[in-house]
Symmetry: D5
Subunit: 147 residues, 10 copies
């Protein structure tokens, strides 16, 4: 079973059973963003996670096996995404990227925020002027090696 077929099967089963992403994440004891990424072929589940989640979804062992394969990552069809929600993240990088770089270098020196030793959290922050989406990136600082 190809990873893309696996993703389709998961999304269809999720819709039929009326399960939320949060419920699936709770079922395997992981964060909802990581769980969603794994279900969409961007991260790798271990055996127990894959079996639990496929049981919840009523899917067979070939799906569970596919969820344990290390995927070729990349969830978008193009470098500049069209979907407005995803584009805003692209726009933030385009507009604020140079400022973020300057501030991180001032705080840490030459290096980067890891996108591998990394996690994302998303929260709804209640606000009387309109609730806010709060997305937190947390990545280990990796200093450039000099040799």
């Amino acid at each position: 079973m190809k990873r893309s077929e696996c993703t389709e099967a998961v999304l269809e089963a999720k819709q039929e059973r009326g399960l939320t992403l949060q419920e699936l994440a709770d079922g395997i004891g992981c964060h909802v963003v990581w769980t969603t990424a794994a279900l969409m072929g961007q991260a790798t589940m271990d055996r127990s996670e894959a079996e639990t989640v496929t049981a919840m979804l009523g899917l067979g062992p070939e799906v569970a096996q596919a969820l344990q394969q290390i995927p070729t990552k990349g969830s978008l069809p193009s470098a500049v995404p069209v979907d407005p929600l995803i584009y805003r993240f692209h726009e933030i990088t385009q507009v604020y990227g140079a400022a973020i770089k300057a501030v991180v270098h001032e705080m840490f020196g030459d290096g980067i925020m890891s996108a591998i030793d990394f996690e994302i959290d998303i929260q709804r922050v209640v606000d009387p002027k309109g609730d806010r989406v709060q997305v937190t990136y947390s990545g280990k600082f990796l200093p450039y090696r000099k040799w």
Copy 2:
């Protein structure tokens, strides 16, 4: 004075005077990320901010005036950035974009996180396994209008 010349003049003066971005931000009472973005031509200062910051940098009124112009935004030379620090933000969007979209929709319904009514914070989180870069995006949720 063109906005790009203004940015160059600011960066050169900042280096000569040995000022940090944080000190410039404190001088005008704004957040360091917003201040850096404004100095780099991605946001618009008001008169008082522009005059304070140019005084700190020892720059003339034509720089102060340029900082008050509404800029054509976009801080990067290409859609797919090459610089490794900035690229990691592009990679996060590419790898986790579809998962972020799914989770935001589950939490809020159809709509987006605004990149205009929006702010960024960057913190250094001490961690014995290596300090972490924590970047927080906070944008108002905008539901799609139906008409």
Copy 3:
């Protein structure tokens, strides 16, 4: 059912039954542009709208369900559209974009016209020299947040 299959099924049924987009819009009490966008996978119907429109089209519940999913948006196959009608909108942005930006900033200050809290109207304006297409965009002004 995938959203693209849903769009195909809707268009085929519409043609077979000889229904117009306006009639479908009237059936659900929404504007014809919004209704067409929703049928083409660019907006999300609620349950009642989806059931009404699929009843009009003689389509089953799997189509009604697909119309209620939040879609991955983007109705065109390329960033620079080839179809002449759609290209003209791209050309307007390319030719008049900088002027629109300057005028909006003069009227409103630094910020944008929202494309989310937004609606489109299309009218036929009778003109003895040849009728005119009048397209009206109405989007909330969003001022840039300073923080």
Copy 4:
């Protein structure tokens, strides 16, 4: 004098004299969007308009002459604009383009909205929930010729 140098000279003089785009437009009796487009090298002034506007700006005859040359049009540096205000117009075309096409064809048959026999208006619409930007495109309908 090159057209791009002409645009720079105009914008600098406008800023120094503290003139608005609306004042310049009123000076020549044209719409502010058209006037701005002409000053930015996207439309062609006649002699009287060019002389009036350069007089208002305190600029010489070589600028007046440049404003009367038919320009090579295109106001943006890339097909997919980065500036958030301009990008929203690109996004509207990407998301709603197919729907606009379908509705125009239903109303008019096979043909296009001209971008040449065409005008743009921009208005501020007061709204208690936040003022709105209203942009109106009006272009002659051009039916496809059959031969």
Copy 5:
């Protein structure tokens, strides 16, 4: 029936029946270039034309119906065509485009040649040094509107 399937069916039937494009055009009383464009999904036939041509080709009513739909236009898979015959037209635009623009503006003022109120003719011109392909474009001149 999708428009692309319609095109395939037409080309296959044309080959099997040994009909030429000219014969099909003569059958409906239209120019061979327009007829070919319509058969290839770039123009819209009326009912009588569609029924006549499908009768000549021995194809059913679903093809006739598809030929009456207004198509999404664009006959080539890429902006820079690879096929040598088609590429030469691209090359002509690249090499002579600026000269054509200058000459048209000198003859007509600021405006364009319409590609909608437009027709193409192709003739074989006998020449002892080798016959020539003569392609004539005829489009209405559209002057830029000033407002």
Copy 6:
């Protein structure tokens, strides 16, 4: 002197002296499209043509010499032109390219219209519904060699 500097010098002198492209073409006894192409660095003048035209323009021998160099051809800054007049030629190729190919092959067999043994004519055709731009391409048919 670089060819691009030569083009600039020619255009500036033409404007100052108030000469038309047609007058320059008449001066050297060539077609206005070819002459314009040559002045813009897309074709090569011989010594007599270059000296005549520079005399008319009041330019020196380094311009005359540059006009005799074989240029690196290509008059546009991008593969998909933005300028509306030039874009229409691109659109014609995109929309009608496949039809033109089919008709040329039916008339001539496998081969192409040369863009080298080639000429362009532009005429203003008076029409009560609006004058028309008539552009004629005439290129030698080159059959594919079989070996």
Copy 7:
């Protein structure tokens, strides 16, 4: 039968029957490069060639017919080929293109080497330091027409 299906059928049959490209070329009395190009949909066989080659391959009349259609040419999936053998030809054009242009112009004047009245030969040249691939292009010189 589509041309691409025809190519696949030919390659499969060639492999099953253990025929070489040279044997197929000898069978129809044409050069191996031209024959291969024709089998891969880049040139057009006449009836006798198509029937001979399909007989050798044990393929039916629909393949023979497809080989006689004038194809839409272009044998590679991208403008910059990835396959190392083909890329080297791209690299040669990128690195030596300007030099080839200068030398051809010095030898012939302004014009090009035809890629239509053109043939390719490939030879193995024995060399004690390692055999060499010798590829010879021979195209008619086409001088630019002046008009």
Copy 8:
């Protein structure tokens, strides 16, 4: 002195002194294509060649030194060249690339024609139907290493 300035100086001096590429090549005893490539910054001269050629051109030691630097290669401004002479080589790769690959593999097995241990020759072949440009590529066959 930058390599690009060196190329400009060489071409200007060559034109002023009325020297041909062939004469310069003869002066250093190398092939005209290699010599042209070296003068245009695509190959590296040794000290004696550089001094001889700059003496012929009347240029100083900084040019001679620049000609001895190993250049960053690539003589064209874009991956798909616009200039018609150079484009034809691109077209040949696009149209015949797959056929060349198939024939080379049949003659040599898996490997490539080197573009480094490589030379080009250009000849004028007299032909009553029109002289021909003959370009010969000769590159060492490099078999793929298996390990």
Copy 9:
């Protein structure tokens, strides 16, 4: 059988039988990187290798035959890869490419590292601060030929 179907069949069989890439490589006595490349359609096996490996995988002769065909190479769907592991190699070329070029030229003169007479080794280097991936490229130095 197409090469891409062959790759899919191999990967599926490998997973079902629980075989590692190293075991398959040991089975044919080749390096694991080369073997993986060959299984993925980037190198050509000989008959004995192909038969051994298909026997290990329980696959039929059509797979063995496909593994012996010389493939069209290129293992990635885009020039700038999205998958983070593969992107790091792209980043290394982008960031260190110019430095590698300068150092290789200082050590060897003008020429390149062959990517054909070439091999790759990958090792796990134990390190108390975290194990390291060590990738070694070894390619024959090819000096540029002068002619």
Copy 10:
């Protein structure tokens, strides 16, 4: 002083003084690849390194200061490099990228080779059949975090 001007000044001084990259690296006690990268604006020197190297090159304090700035990284003008030496590294990623990914995952699990905690070594390996370029990449393995 801009970083690009700094690079130019360094390269010019290096050439005038006849210093090698290895000598400059030895002067500061760092590896030649890292030193070259730092001089070319891809890494950051500390004060002592910058002062030592500028003293060796006879350059002033503004160069030393520029070498201590954290640069915007990226040493190549395009995503697909044209220079043959650098292209070969791009080709290796394109051809062997999927195989490298598969082998690294089999040896280490899901994660990447760091390009930050990373070093490169280049050696000349003497070989009777032609010396070899050996390039070794050593990067810390970073496992994907699960959260």
